[in-house]
Structure formats: structure tokens, C-alpha cells
């Protein structure tokens, strides 16, 4: 004979697991909040340092390149990098405020997180890959034209890296669109739950 199981028993089992550890003291919370602030500050500095190193490098290349087209290409890369840095700061400053965790219901919060990921995937071209394309394309085109001046074979071979980079960019864009589509399905399912 089977005993009748009452799901509410499981609530009692769940709620009587014991008191658990004591909450961390306020001093510890204050310390961790300060540490978190410094971590975010350090991360922002790290991202700026990478750009701060790349921008002068390409600016130097633009200044010293012999071919005018390579100079233009490096200049465009500098502009693209500066645009990327601007977008990074813009995105960092639009991050959720701490109180949002309490104001937003779980569905709204989860939806916002999924939307943020979806938009980041879809906009990779706009702010991350796209700004670098004009500069890279100009430099590669300059290399190819210079190659054709020497021989057709060298000129043709110089086009190959451009093709590979284009293929790589296309692949990244396609994978991102696919991942964004999956996230959109999850967002649609969440919308149905709120109705």
C-alpha cells in the first residue's frame, strides 16, 4: 500500500532546513561594496588602456606610411577605435542601477537581461566590427593595388587576406544573428507568461 504524499509536506521539509549561516556584518557589506566599485573602475581603465595603446600606434602608422591610401586607412582605423571607446563608455553608463533589482519583477528583469544580450549580439556590427571595416578595407586595398603594380600574382595574393577577413566577419555576424534569434524566442515566451 502506498502512502499518500502531500506536496505541502515538502514545503515543511524545505522551510525547516535549519537557520543557515548568519548574515554578513554591515562592515563586511560596506567593504565589499567599495571593492565592487574599485573593480568596475579598474575594468574601465583596462579597456581604455587597450584603446590608448592602439590609437597612438595606428596614428603613428598613419603619420609614417609612405602610401597616401595606407595613411587614410590608418586614420580611419583610429576614428573607428575612438568610436568603439565612446560606445563602450555609453553602454557601461547605461547599466542597471542597484535599485532596479527591487523595482523590476523577475519577468521584467530577466526580459531586460535577455534583451540586453540580444541587442549586444545584433549591434556588434554597428559598434565593434563595423567601425574597423573602412580602415581595414582601405589598408588591404592599398596593399593589393601596390601588389598589382609589381605583378598580377602578388596583387591577387594580396586580396586573399581581405577575403578571409570578410569571411570571418560574415561568420561572426551570422552566429550572432542566430544566437539573437534564440534569445528572442525566450523573450516571446516570457511575454506570454505576463499575459
Amino acid at each position: 500500500m502506498q502512502n499518500e504524499f502531500i506536496p505541502d509536506d515538502m514545503c515543511n521539509v524545505w522551510q525547516n532546513q535549519g537557520p543557515g549561516p548568519a548574515p554578513p556584518p554591515l562592515e563586511e557589506i560596506h567593504g565589499k561594496a567599495g571593492k565592487l566599485h574599485s573593480q568596475i573602475h579598474r575594468r574601465n581603465i583596462r579597456e581604455s588602456v587597450v584603446s590608448a595603446l592602439l590609437v597612438p600606434y595606428f596614428a603613428y602608422c598613419a603619420w609614417t606610411a609612405r602610401l597616401p591610401m595606407v595613411q587614410v586607412g590608418n586614420g580611419l582605423l583610429v576614428a573607428g577605435l575612438l568610436y568603439m571607446v565612446y560606445q563602450l563608455y555609453r553602454k557601461a553608463s547605461s547599466a542597471a542601477a542597484p535599485a532596479d533589482l527591487g523595482w523590476k519583477s523577475c519577468v521584467a528583469f530577466y526580459r531586460a537581461e535577455l534583451e540586453r544580450q540580444r541587442d549586444a549580439l545584433l549591434s556588434v556590427w554597428k559598434w565593434y566590427l563595423g567601425p574597423l571595416v573602412p580602415g581595414l578595407a582601405t589598408i588591404l586595398a592599398a596593399g593589393s593595388i601596390a601588389g598589382f603594380h609589381r605583378s598580377t600574382l602578388i596583387g591577387t595574393l594580396a586580396i586573399l587576406p581581405a577575403g578571409l577577413i570578410a569571411l570571418l566577419f560574415w561568420g561572426v555576424g551570422r552566429l550572432n544573428r542566430k544566437a539573437a534569434g534564440q534569445l528572442q524566442k525566450q523573450i516571446d515566451a516570457l511575454d506570454a507568461l505576463g499575459r
Binding site: 502512502n3 499518500e4 515538502m10 537557520p19 543557515g20 535599485a99 527591487g102 519583477s105 523577475c106 530577466y110
Partner: protein
């Protein structure tokens, strides 16, 4: 809100819901070390959130929302490095019970199996089952999660069925 007021709300919330937050962390993270980190993350999120608390919703709703949302962020981050996928309640009903051939053996074993089951669930289903287990009614669960009361009721019905199937005592599981 002043720093003192923020501290006061946090201390009140930690005293009233500290044990519930610990249970919530258990439901979101199986590994003991990581669970300690998650619990600290939840407490930190709670303290920071009180900067913007003005009492427009109850303290209980606020605490559970912050805790679930902070834990959901944690799950999303962890999922990137985990191989196993999370499933919905509906999918879990169709999966075989891993402990089907074992006879339920006491409270501790049931709790371990319950945790294992919860940790497989997608964030929102996890939030509903946890609210149910914490004894919150459908209206409170709807307010915390943002799921419509009708959908909460349907999910709770499914949860009860699932728990009955998986945990009925001394029954046919071992046969």
C-alpha cells in the same frame, strides 16, 4: 535615502529573511564554495538596492525580487561556463526521474532530490517553485515574479503534480 536608512533596511531584511536567502542560494547553486559566494553576492545586492527603496511595495516583495534577480544574473553568468542546459517545468515532467529506482529514504534524501530538481529549472520556474516552497501564496508570487496570477496558479498546479510524482513515499518507485 541616507546611508543610515539604507543600513537599517538591510539589517531588518537580513534578520527577517536571512534563512530564506540561504535556502534560495542553495536552490541556485549546488557547489558549497560557490554557494557561499552567491549568498554574499545576494546580500551585497540587497544592501545596494536599499538606496532606492521607498516602501511602495512590501519589504518581503522587495527582498525576494532582489534576491531572485541577483541569483538569476548569477545563473546567466554561470550558464556560459556550464555544459548542462536548464529545462522548464513542462520539460521536466517528461524527463525520467533519476532517482526512480530508489526508495525515498528520509527527510535529508528528499531535500537533496528536491534541490537537484530545482537546480535543473529555468529561472522563472525556479522562482515560482521556491515561492511555493517558502509558503507564499499565488498573489505574492505573481507580484514578485511578474507572471500573471493565472499562470502562477497553473505552474503551482504543475509543481504539486510533479512533487507528488517524484516524492510519493514508500510507493511504486522501487518496484
Amino acid at each position: 535615502m541616507g546611508a543610515n536608512e539604507q543600513d537599517r533596511w538591510y539589517l531588518e531584511a537580513a534578520a527577517a529573511y536571512g534563512a530564506a536567502l540561504d535556502r534560495l542560494a542553495r536552490a541556485y547553486e549546488a557547489d558549497q564554495e560557490k554557494r557561499r559566494d552567491l549568498l554574499q553576492e545576494v546580500h551585497l545586492a540587497l544592501w545596494r538596492s536599499f538606496q532606492g527603496f521607498d516602501g511602495r511595495c512590501s519589504l518581503r516583495t522587495w527582498v525576494y525580487r532582489v534576491a531572485h534577480n541577483a541569483a538569476t544574473s548569477y545563473v546567466i553568468r554561470q550558464r556560459r561556463s556550464r555544459a548542462s542546459a536548464l529545462v522548464s517545468l513542462e520539460e521536466l515532467e517528461t524527463l525520467p526521474d533519476p532517482a526512480q529506482n530508489e526508495r525515498a529514504a528520509g527527510r535529508r534524501h528528499s531535500l537533496a532530490r528536491l534541490l537537484e530538481l530545482i537546480q535543473q529549472l529555468k529561472p522563472l520556474d525556479r522562482q515560482v517553485i521556491l515561492s511555493y516552497l517558502e509558503g507564499l501564496d499565488a498573489a505574492a508570487t505573481a507580484e514578485i515574479t511578474g507572471i500573471s496570477p493565472g499562470n502562477v496558479a497553473t505552474k503551482i498546479h504543475r509543481i504539486k503534480n510533479l512533487l507528488s510524482q517524484r516524492f510519493h513515499q514508500g510507493g511504486n518507485h522501487a518496484e
